[in-house]
């Protein structure tokens, strides 16, 4: 055991106990206050109400432990892994822990977000401290009962033992523990003593999932609720002029048709009737500006890259000078389409707006922000708005945006009844908040065999890359380095898509370095490692990645993938990347079947610090890699006349099981605090595949999706 807890953090978290009427105790804590070390401590802990806490541990008289998990679960596994951290320090058997999604509303629960692969990273200390604090209180209660010094007591699997060998179960001392002062400082386990962290824990909802129990927003219903299907503008940039609902209203089951803003909701007593009603609406749309298209975006983004109007996000040295003095200058352009999120569970949300309450229920990555926006929209006191979170059938960033919840609230207000908005797949794909179409142009200078200058330009529809990305690799490795961005304001809504920006940037940069190695006729691994050498010992605190950890994953990938020793007919491609605080290297094995490249295997090396739940972690890694391969290969989403060309899976291609490589995962053993895994294995996958296709076919790919550009035979950048 080592004492690594800061009492001030504990005070802020904080913990309050209460005896339960039915026996046992409840311990509350504010995870998200605890996650922000700069948060101000509560004025008077004794005055705090349980409503100030957003997660709870309940210990019953029989020693059973219930942990209420506060974070939204989108498939990233935090409903399993976050409670594991509490259970570890509480020192109970994981078999005796029951996990429940906290019963949530915005009054009691704040700062609950699933996004950025941050849940475990930020929960690592406070969740363990919470478990450890509860354990210490139970020990103190037992020690008082025995009249011994608490320091002579030990715990194991929910049982306290004193120096004489006397034993008391947690359930036997919970009432006394609830009345005790919360200890100021507690000890956290040494990682070598972990019993739960680092062991495989299955998904806590597994039986409900495999037996089809109601879990998701789509499954949620209440007495008196009606289904709402919404007609939205058919193109970005169109406005609703008028509509005729006569036919829609004649469909049996349709109850009402309501216009709100630029949209029309059809309300019915079942989803099918509402969908039919929507199809029967006759609407007239107008637009006063030119409708957008992928063809137009293509020209605009190229124009931006060719132009002079950029915002510089980082500039080291003098790239212009480096290019002027170079022996050789290499320039390539990389292009991505828009991408829809396509969560398997289409967008949906329940709302019941009444005179004194606004109740929202559904799948949302950002419940607090959404509640606030609904309050503003309806001009209501935020205290009246509650949000209950359901398990989510995927998020991938789409459910960060509460647009569907706002629609639900507005419709419920107008209809004066509880309603649930349900999107069809076509609605989901055509009212998206897409990964924006982006072009990167990268220019590098070479002098005496060294890369002396690196200039990355981004041209993007709508928003540009966010602040920290220009400090990812190769920042710090090349003396003259510059990152410039330019954007085009579009009517098409865009936003975060799994591993925002790096999902495509990684492809561009890791393809570029591979090609430079070919042009310079140097080993492609050595080229990367040599660059990393230059970052070691850097005093530049803007640099986000660790050159040592990136170097390590690269070396292990070389070893584990059989790099350079592939079997006859197997072509390998390499990629390594840092994002979301995690370092990853990937090697793709491609074979040619009827001369078509097929990805057979991806070896993935991950340094995410301590692996909390290896079983769940590997699932995230496998999914992230295959998602990355699938979208790089097939994801093709374009616009014509302001509308998406593809709106369902008959023409929009997602990777399927028969196209899937085997993912072989290796973790770097580590005692460093854990980082997230929902995103960081996706970005390197595209370049690993592209580099392998280059090895197999001699074709260098600059555009995604690969299948389209291999066919067009026009891959040159």
């Amino acid at each position: 055991m080592k004492k690594i807890m800061s009492p001030s953090v504990s005070r802020r978290s904080f913990i309050k106990t209460s005896a339960l009427a039915g026996g046992g105790i409840l311990i509350g804590f504010n995870l998200f206050q605890a996650c922000k070390p700069e948060a101000a401590p509560p004025v008077d802990i004794a005055q705090l109400n349980f409503n100030d806490f957003n997660a709870f541990i309940k210990i019953a008289d029989n020693g059973m432990v219930t942990i209420f998990s506060p974070n939204p679960e989108i498939g990233q596994g935090v409903k399993t892994s976050m409670p594991m951290l509490i259970a570890e320090e509480l020192d109970v058997s994981w078999d005796n822990v029951h996990v429940v999604q906290g019963a949530l509303d915005t009054k009691n629960f704040t700062r609950q977000v699933a996004g950025g692969s941050q849940s475990l990273r930020q929960g690592w200390e406070p969740l363990r401290q919470t478990g450890a604090t509860a354990r210490q209180m139970l020990i103190n209660a037992a020690a008082a009962k025995w009249g011994v010094d608490p320091s002579t007591c030990t715990t194991k699997n929910g049982v306290i033992t004193n120096g004489n060998g006397d034993k008391l179960g947690y359930g036997e001392v919970v009432k006394e523990a609830a009345a005790l002062e919360v200890p100021d400082n507690v000890v956290l386990k040494d990682p070598k003593d972990f019993k739960i962290i680092g062991t495989d824990a299955g998904n806590v909802d597994i039986d409900k999932i495999t037996t089809g129990k109601p879990l998701y927003g789509m499954d949620y219903k209440e007495e008196g609720m009606v289904y709402a299907v919404v007609l939205r503008p058919p193109s970005f940039g169109k406005e609703l002029e008028s509509f005729d609902a006569t036919d829609a209203k004649s469909i049996s089951g349709v109850q009402d048709v309501i216009r709100f803003g630029n949209k029309v909701a059809v309300l019915a007593n079942n989803t099918w009737a509402a969908m039919k009603g929507k199809k029967a609406l006759k609407a007239v749309w107008t637009s006063d500006s030119e409708l957008e298209s992928t063809e137009k975006h293509d020209k605009i983004l190229t124009g931006l890259l060719d132009g002079k109007e950029f915002t510089t996000l980082r500039a080291d040295g003098d790239v212009k000078k480096a290019f002027a003095q170079a022996d050789q200058v290499i320039e390539r352009t990389y292009e991505s389409p828009f991408l829809p999120h396509n969560c398997m569970e289409p967008m949906n949300f329940f709302a019941d707006v009444t005179a004194d309450k606004v109740r929202l229920v559904g799948p949302i990555q950002t419940p607090a922000r959404t509640a606030q926006r609904v309050a503003e929209l309806l001009e209501r006191d935020p205290q009246q708005v509650s949000v209950d979170m359901t398990r989510m059938g995927g998020g991938f960033g789409r459910r960060l945006y509460g647009d569907f919840a706002l629609e639900a609230a507005e419709i419920s207000k107008l209809a004066q009844k509880p309603i649930k908005v349900v999107y069809s797949r076509e609605d989901d794909m055509s009212a998206g908040i897409y990964r924006p179409s982006i072009k990167y142009r990268i220019k590098a200078s070479v002098k005496d065999g060294n890369i002396t200058g690196y200039h990355l330009k981004e041209a993007s529809v709508n928003s540009n890359m966010y602040g920290l990305i220009p400090n990812f690799f190769p920042a710090g490795a090349i003396e003259n380095y510059q990152v410039d961005v330019a954007n085009y304001d579009s009517d098409i809504t865009t936003g975060a898509w799994r591993a925002p920006y790096t999902n495509f940037l990684s492809f561009a940069e890791q393809s570029f370095f591979d090609e430079i190695a070919e042009i310079l006729e140097v080993d492609r691994i050595k080229l990367r490692l040599d660059l990393l050498q230059k970052v070691k010992g850097t005093t530049d605190d803007r640099i986000q990645y660790s050159p040592e950890r990136l170097e390590n994953v690269i070396k292990v990938a070389v070893d584990k993938s059989g790099w350079g020793n592939a079997k006859e007919g197997v072509y390998q491609g390499f990629s390594a990347y840092y994002c979301h605080n995690t370092h990853v290297a990937e090697v793709a094995d491609v074979v040619l079947e009827n001369d078509i490249p097929v990805v057979k295997k991806v070896t993935c090396i991950v340094d995410c610090g301590i692996v909390v739940n290896p079983l769940g972690a590997k699932n995230q890694i496998e999914g992230g890699v295959i998602d990355g391969v699938g979208h790089a290969m097939y994801g093709d989403f374009s616009f014509k006349d302001g509308a998406p060309v593809d709106t369902n899976f008959n023409t929009y291609r997602l990777i399927r099981i028969n196209e899937t490589p085997v993912v072989e995962t290796h973790f770097i053993e580590s005692d460093i605090a854990p980082t997230g895994l929902g995103e960081p294995t996706l970005p390197p996958a595209g370049a690993a595949v592209a580099n392998a296709i280059k090895a197999a076919k001699g074709i260098r790919l600059y555009k995604q999706p690969f299948v389209k550009h291999m066919k067009s035979n026009a891959p040159l950048g």
């Binding site: 989108i74 498939g75 596994g77 495989d200 299955g202 998904n203 909802d205 597994i206 039986d207 999932i209 495999t210 037996t211 089809g212 129990k213 109601p214 879990l215 998701y216 789509m218 499954d219 219903k221 289904y227 079942n270 989803t271 099918w272 009737a273 969908m275 396509n342 969560c343 398997m344 569970e345 289409p346 398990r391 989510m392 059938g393 995927g394 998020g395 991938f396 069809s424 797949r425 076509e426 769940g616 699932n619 995230q620 496998e622 999914g623 890699v625 295959i626 998602d627 699938g630 369902n648 899976f649 008959n650 997602l654 990777i655 399927r656 099981i657 028969n658 899937t660 085997v662 993912v663």
Partner: protein
Amino acid sequence: MPVYNLKINGKPHTVEADQDTPLLWVLRDHLDMVGTKFGCGIGQCGACTVHVDGSATRSCLLQVGNVADMEITTIEGISEDASHPVQQAWKEIDVPQCGYCQAGQIMSATAFLEQNKNPSRSEIRDAMSGNICRCASYNRIEKAVEVAASKLS
């Protein structure tokens, strides 16, 4: 509105619905059996897979008027306590991420394993290729079908 007598998971149900209502929505909205999921509505993703007279079928394309008197099995009918070997295999391999598509995956797998007791990896990949998993838990689906096959044999 017409009335239909349906046989679902061995039990009779009477529903009043328009003839063209897909079985999917009858199950979900009329009968409160929400284990069968809506994914695409055009038979492309497999989330809504049920068994009709033992065959894996997309319930989003099947009109209620056409399934009267047929034996319909949904995920709720595989087993209520997750004791079916396919459900057990899904747990053993810890397949789900978000979990939304998994009911459909399990329905496709159970029907497939009835037909092919000892499938090869490539037969599994072909048989399961009608079901999309957006989280891409495909490696585990493949393994779980293999494990389920060994449990069933």
